[in-house]
Every structure is written in structure tokens, then in C-alpha cells.
Symmetry: C2
Subunit: 410 residues, 2 copies
């Protein structure tokens, strides 16, 4: 008997009809002899509706109270799914985050899970019930309701799977797996049978919005077998989605590159002519971090004449705020010559564990872009990924030619 | 420094604008040096919306899950009111029923309060916060969410006032107090300055829907000073509403009758020719009670020829079901001659503690109705009330002439 944790997102829970379909799918998994724990999101649109209501009351809603309110979205769907299961004769019981209890820290609207009490769930599972848990929410040590931030239901699913030592955590979405790149840009994109956690992390953080990045980190850390599946496939026509594994698959020919990821929501900032001395990176990025602005790529080249240029990218929506901080608090303080920025950029990345053993990947990537006349503005690399920043207008072209050059079309 | 519990219903919480108005009112009470605990209902319409959603999933929704779901209505409004107060600079904190904790039995959708843990609320009050508590909901000893049934927010308010030994429990509604009768039927109806708990109980159970009857019982039992007020009166133009007191007011001339109540949602059933022997009432009403049908008036007259007729009234929506039970399970069993029923009736009652010392009230009431040609079908009396069942078509006329004959117009 296997223990399966399934997570269904807001689109899958979007209407009574869809909830009934989820119930049927859950019932099938249980009928096949599995114990099933289901994690659900709020009905699509509900979280935004609640936040909108809050903002009509208070322009910047109190975080504690916002969590009290927004957590009701999942509290509604757990009850509805339990009813749907009971309606087809499957015993089921809903749990809010507090009822589980999913203990988090007190960072309202972006709390982190500290511990999960799993004994009650396990007892209910052993008595034959399907367990339905509200995603995205928890409770802190004061008994205050917390939420994990957007996409937190994935994290709830993986954390529960880890706590229960589940055999598999299945993330049901509106796509049927992880693709080599976005099929809307490259119609030849293929679904991957499997992908490593490391690759998935690089893909997710780079804009393949299939899974929330924290849930993938969590799954890797706790060795949870994670699978991405479609909740819209008909009975009897289900595919296996994409399995996210801990180990590279040594039994098959390893592709060099698993996918081409991209992100068009970035903007770059450069601090020109910074004195090339210890502590300068912290002096530049400290004020940015204090303003709660996430930084993605960071690049500093070797200096000359005792100065260097320091560049980084931020989410485009934070661009104006970050630029202002650099101009007002950083430029003078570090003695920089000027601040430059560009909102019209994008990031394109080739990701694959196979590049570890194939040193020629970077040069093949740069040559391919050069042949298309695409100028590379920034380069950043990791063990399993090469990212370049290029002019936004080249995004589709760059993704297409890289997808082809690395043989992902076949 | 007084401790005030205020309860606001769904209409008062019906929109962001109204919630802001409630916040202003709460802030004024606090600014006058009071500690304030606020109990709120869900936004008007929300509970019905949620129940409708549940019924789309399961025709007869699972009670435990329905409570999980429906309780979210108040969880949203507590957060919104806390935000509204913070928005105008008043420190506030929301509590769900489980967070308080309001311990109830496990009778989902109609739970009863067993105990209230008030230490956390008191500590927060003492630190200067306004406390906002979700009405209508609690938690049982298993940690399952329960609801108190329709109108349960009034009960939450009174129970909290009792637990906190509050100086006053104020119920804000869309009317400005308790009237001698419904002003829509008798335009001369007057607002009562005060009314006793006993009278209020009779008025409430007879159809003056100002307060939930359980909350009035609760208030009487725990000696909570209860006041009904309007939440729509403008600042500076507030009236004192109606105070519901434990004692009759001995300092003023006591009116004989305080009000004329009525209920048009009743239906009567008669079991004809029942053997006049012990246990017969139980044999008739036992199956009705087991079917969870509430019985209001019960009348059995002296028998003759060894048989008697047994009549009772039920809510009109239960009429068909009750009649079927009598016909299928009771008639043969008790050896009754026939089952009769009438859906087109109403109940009109004169209520007043003054009638205790004025024996002529009943005869005055019957004469007045007779003068108008209104036939009385059933009569039932208590210490402070006389109720008659008459044909539904006479409701307005009966209420008007009784209101006048007892001098309530002046």
C-alpha cells in the first residue's frame, strides 16, 4: 500500500464541476489501494478577490489580518472537496493548516514551515479516510494564522509528503509536465519524462512556472519523489507527467541540455566606476536587500585603474525603486561614477546536468547567438546552467535557436 | 472604565464602506474610555453564497465540512474590521472562535457553547487593543470547527459579555430598537425604552426578529445587560435603542401589555379522536421530535367519550413532513380517527409582564377580536403572554386592533 500526496491548484478547484472531477480522480487512486492525502489551493481568483477586498479597507493591509482573511480561500475548498468525496461514497476529512498543525514562523504572508504534526492525519489515514489539507497556510506558535506566500500550496504538499514519508508527491496543474521550453514559443518543445531537482530548480527560478521553487528545494532536501501531472486529462488517458528525481538517470543516454528557460520580467542595473576594494558588493547590495528587493544575477568583472563596474538584475517591477536607492543612497557613499540601467532586457538560460561532462556547451551557446546577431549583455554560469542577458526583443529568437542547437526538438 | 461588547450583523458589515463606519463607531466608544470587544457576522449574503456552493457539490452537505466552510464568512469580516480600525489608528486584533477559544459541543451547524476561554482576550484588552471576535462559530474538544446555527452571532456576543463580565452587550442591527409591534403593519408602533428578558423572549420567539432567542435566554441566565441599537444612526444622532433588563421597572407606571407579536410562518396539525390515556402526547410528538421538527404551540383539551383531540403548530416549511409522519407512523399506532391540518393560519400574541396583575387582559383580547369577526382557532397562554391562532388573512387586522385596544399607540 502506497501513501500518495496529491496537490491540486486553483484552476483544478475552479468550479463545483472541476472539484467533482478532482474527487473522482482521488477516489480512483484510493480504490487502487493507495492512502491519499490531498492538498488544495483556493478556487482560482478567490485569493485575489480577498486581497482586493482587504485593499478597499486598508491600502496596505495589516499582514496578520490579511493572513486570517486570505487563508479562508483554502478553508472553503478543503470542505468542498471533502463533501464531493463523501458525495461519491468516499470517507474524507478536511484539515486547516492550524488543525494539522503545520507550524510556521511568524513572518505573515511569507511564513516558512518549521514542523508538521502528522499523528492525527496518520490515524485518520489508517482508518480509511482520504485526508484533505488546506495548502498555503499554517499557524505560528501563538496560534496566529500564517500563509506561506504565493504558490505556497506546492510547498505544503511537499512538506506533508516529507513528514508522512509519502511514496510520491504529485503536483496536479493545468500542464501535463515540464517541457524543454515553453511550447508557446517553440512548438517543437517536448515533455520531459524526468528531470533532476537541480535542473528543476534552475528551470523554475528562471521562469518555467510549473512549480514553486521553494517546494522543489524542499523536495530535494527531504528526498521527496515529486511528479508534475495534468489534472485535466480524462480517465484512462492519463500520462505520467514529469518525474523530478534526486539522481541523474544513469541507465539512459543523458542529454547535455534538458531545457531552455527564460525570464522576461527582469531589469538590469549597473554601478559604474566603483572603487575595486573589499566590502563594495555589500555596500551596494545591502540597501537593496534592506528594501526587500530580490536580486537575481550579480556580475562583477575584474577591475582596472582601481575601479570596476558592478551589475545585477532585479524583477522589472522593482526596477524604479532599486534605481532610486542606488542613486540616493549608494552612488555617493561608494564613490561610484554613475548609475545605469535597462528595463528592456530578458534572460535566457540553458539548463542541464549533462553540461558538467561536456565543456563545450557555453561556446556552442555563444556561437549560436552570435550567428543570429544577438548581442550578449551579461553572462552568468553555474554548474548546470548558463544564463545570458540579451535585449528583450531577441527573447523568442534566442530561445528557438538554442532549443534547436542543443537537439531538444528531437 | 467600562467593558462593552458590541455585536454587528451582516447588514452592518455588508460592504467596505459600512465596515469603515463600524470601525468609526467602535473607535468612538473606545475613545470615550471604554474597553471594546466586537463580535461580527459575515457580510450579508455570504453565508447563503457558501451554503449554495456546498449544495452544488453535495445535495445535503456534510455538517462537519459545512461548518469548516461557512465559518469562513466571519473569518473574513473580523480581519476586515481589524484592518479598518488599524487604518484609522486604533490597535485591533481579530480572533476566530477557535482562537478565543469558544468551546462548544459537537452538534455541527447548531452547536451550543460550553465554555469560553477569556484570558487571552483580557490580556489584549488590557494592552489597549480592540478585540474582534468571529460570531456564530466555535470549536469542539476535537479541534473541529462548529457553528451555532443561524443568528448565532448574537449568542456569541452575549456569551462573551457573560464570560468577560462586561458592563453591557450592545446588539447593533438595522432597526433602532424593539417596537410595540411591527411598524410595517401598525405605523403607530412605538419604540420601547426598555423591555424585560421574559417579554423579549416571548416577543422574539413570536416573530420579532430583532434578536436571536437563544442569546436572550443566555443574557437572562447570566444577567448580561443587553441593548438593541441601530448601526445606521449617524454620529451625534444616536439614540439609546431598547434596553433589555432583568427586573421590571418599578419606578414607572408599568404598561399592561408591552407589545403585540405575530408569526405568519406557522401551520397547525390536529390528531382527532385520540384515546384519552397517559402517554398519548409522547406517542404523537415523539416521532415528530425524532424527525427534528420543532413544535411551537401544543393544545389538548379535556376529552369526552374516552377520546380527545390533540393539536400543535409547526413551522410552515415542516408542515408536509409532519403531516406525513402523523399519517404514516402515528395515526394507526395511537388509534386516532383522523389527521387534520391547516397551513393558512397565523399566530398573534399579546405580551407583557403587567398582565400578571391585570386578570382582565385575556377577555379584553378575545372581545376585541370577536368585535372584528375574527374567529379564534386555538388559544395558548403563559404567565406573560396570550397567543391565539387565527386565519392567516386576519393577521394585519388582528395586530392593529390589539395594538390599539391595549393603548400601545400612545
Amino acid at each position: 500500500m502506497a501513501l500518495i500526496v496529491q496537490k491540486y491548484g486553483g484552476t483544478s478547484m475552479g468550479s463545483p464541476e472541476r472539484i467533482k472531477n478532482v474527487a473522482k480522480r482521488v477516489a480512483r487512486w484510493q480504490a487502487q489501494g493507495n492512502q491519499v492525502v490531498v492538498v488544495v489551493s483556493a478556487m482560482s481568483g478567490e485569493t485575489n478577490r480577498l486581497i482586493g477586498l482587504a485593499k478597499e479597507i486598508q491600502a496596505s493591509p495589516d499582514p496578520r489580518e490579511l493572513d486570517v482573511m486570505v487563508s479562508t480561500g483554502e478553508q472553503v475548498t478543503i470542505a468542498l472537496l471533502a463533501m464531493a468525496l463523501k458525495g461519491i461514497g468516499v470517507d474524507a476529512k478536511s484539515y486547516t493548516g492550524a488543525q494539522v498543525k503545520i507550524l510556521t514562523d511568524s513572518a505573515h504572508t511569507k511564513a516558512r514551515i518549521l514542523a508538521i504534526e502528522e499523528s492525527n492525519i496518520r490515524a485518520d489515514l489508517d482508518s480509511g479516510k482520504v485526508i484533505i489539507v488546506a495548502g498555503f497556510q499554517g499557524v505560528d506558535e501563538n496560534g496566529d494564522v500564517t500563509t506561506l506566500g504565493r504558490g505556497g500550496s506546492d510547498t505544503t504538499g511537499v512538506a506533508l509528503a516529507a513528514a508522512l514519508k509519502a511514496d510520491e508527491c504529485q503536483i496536479y496543474t493545468d500542464v501535463d509536465g515540464v517541457y524543454t521550453t515553453d511550447p508557446r514559443i517553440v512548438p517543437e518543445a517536448r515533455k520531459l519524462e524526468r528531470i533532476t531537482f537541480e535542473e528543476m530548480l534552475e528551470m523554475a527560478s528562471l521562469g518555467s512556472k510549473v512549480l514553486q521553487i521553494r517546494s522543489v528545494e524542499f523536495a530535494g532536501k527531504y528526498k521527496v519523489k515529486l511528479r508534475v501531472l495534468s489534472s485535466f486529462e480524462e480517465e484512462g488517458k492519463e500520462t505520467n507527467g514529469t518525474l523530478i528525481t534526486l539522481e541523474e538517470d544513469s541507465t539512459m543516454e543523458q542529454p547535455i541540455i534538458s531545457g531552455i528557460a527564460f525570464n522576461r520580467d527582469e531589469a538590469k542595473l549597473t554601478v559604474l566606476g566603483v572603487p575595486d576594494k573589499p566590502g563594495i558588493a555589500y555596500q551596494i547590495l545591502g540597501p537593496i536587500s534592506e528594501a526587500n528587493i530580490d536580486v537575481d544575477m550579480i556580475i562583477q568583472n575584474v577591475g582596472h585603474d582601481g575601479t570596476t563596474d558592478f551589475s545585477f538584475t532585479v524583477n522589472r517591477s522593482e526596477y524604479a525603486r532599486a534605481k532610486k536607492i542606488l542613486e540616493e543612497s549608494v552612488q555617493k557613499h561608494v564613490g561610484a561614477r554613475a548609475i545605469m540601467g535597462d528595463e528592456k532586457i530578458c534572460k535566457v538560460s540553458a539548463v542541464g546536468v549533462g553540461m558538467r561532462s561536456h565543456p563545450g556547451v557555453a561556446s556552442q551557446m555563444f556561437r549560436t547567438l552570435a550567428e543570429e546577431g544577438i548581442n550578449i549583455q551579461m553572462i552568468s554560469t553555474s554548474e548546470i546552467k548558463i544564463s545570458v542577458v540579451v535585449d528583450e526583443k531577441y527573447l523568442e529568437l534566442a530561445v528557438r535557436v538554442l532549443h534547436k542547437t542543443f537537439g531538444l526538438d528531437q
